[in-house]
Subunit: 148 residues, 2 copies
């Protein structure tokens, strides 16, 4: 692989301190229904690995669809996770842009060959994800999303 | 206006220290042509207002189209600007998400009524923009874009 097998941003992830509060803000500003916040990284599919070690940290998330883009609001729950790390180090703000990939292992290897650290990986009932720290190369963390 | 007249994210703005360096990163990772960096906020259309006062600050920008989204890399040039402020306070990172609006004045007034400060506004040959600080409400700065 000499390039990522996707060039379509599908999601923007925003770290927040209180997911219900920020979700109410989005619903009001954009005139859309208020989604229910849902737990993430809590079930038997999670297998969360943070900087090389298993972690029980989790999150609470709310999703909005604004045009072709999904906005994911994430409130960290517990530690360690890239979500908790970001909130502690930088405060609320945009944490990642996500790309869908058919070959997540190859895509990870490619990005790591560009000097990006694998910060966190895990899964859900239906897919797997990986966060690569591209701060130095692309000015943000990237998330790879793989759907089974 | 009781909601924003757009719910489509059209652009993600990323503040970087060296626009050519980061642009090379995007071109390599996504396998797309390297765009020429261009000066922004430098011509007679700029009329930059930063926190209520005219500013001569500018930027250098490079644009990528990744799916339905434009990625704008912005290197601050001079001060004061929201770009320079962000780089100084937070370092490189995602600065804003942008929405296209047909009624930028009404949209600004609506967002200000929600407690968001008008941080910077200005124009180019073809349109006008405004940055509203929605950090506390939406976890990010919003940009409104109006095309003449």
């Amino acid at each position: 692989m000499n390039r990522l097998d996707s060039d379509t941003v599908v999601q923007i992830g925003i770290i927040v301190a209180d997911v219900e509060k920020t979700a109410r803000g989005y619903a009001e500003v954009f005139g859309v229904p208020l989604p229910q916040a849902v737990p993430i990284a809590v079930d038997s599919f999670a297998h969360t690995i943070y900087r090389g070690k298993p972690s029980q940290a989790a999150g609470r998330a709310a999703f909005f669809h604004l045009g072709a883009i999904e906005i994911e609001l994430i409130q960290p729950v517990g530690a360690p996770s890239t979500w908790e790390e970001f909130l502690r180090q930088r405060g609320e703000g945009i944490h990642h842009i996500a790309f869908r990939t058919a070959k997540i292992d190859e895509a990870q290897d490619f990005l790591r060959s560009k000097g990006m650290d694998l910060v966190q990986s895990g899964g859900w009932d239906g897919g797997r994800y990986a966060y690569l720290d591209a701060s130095g190369q692309l000015g943000t963390i990237l998330e790879l999303l793989h759907f089974d």
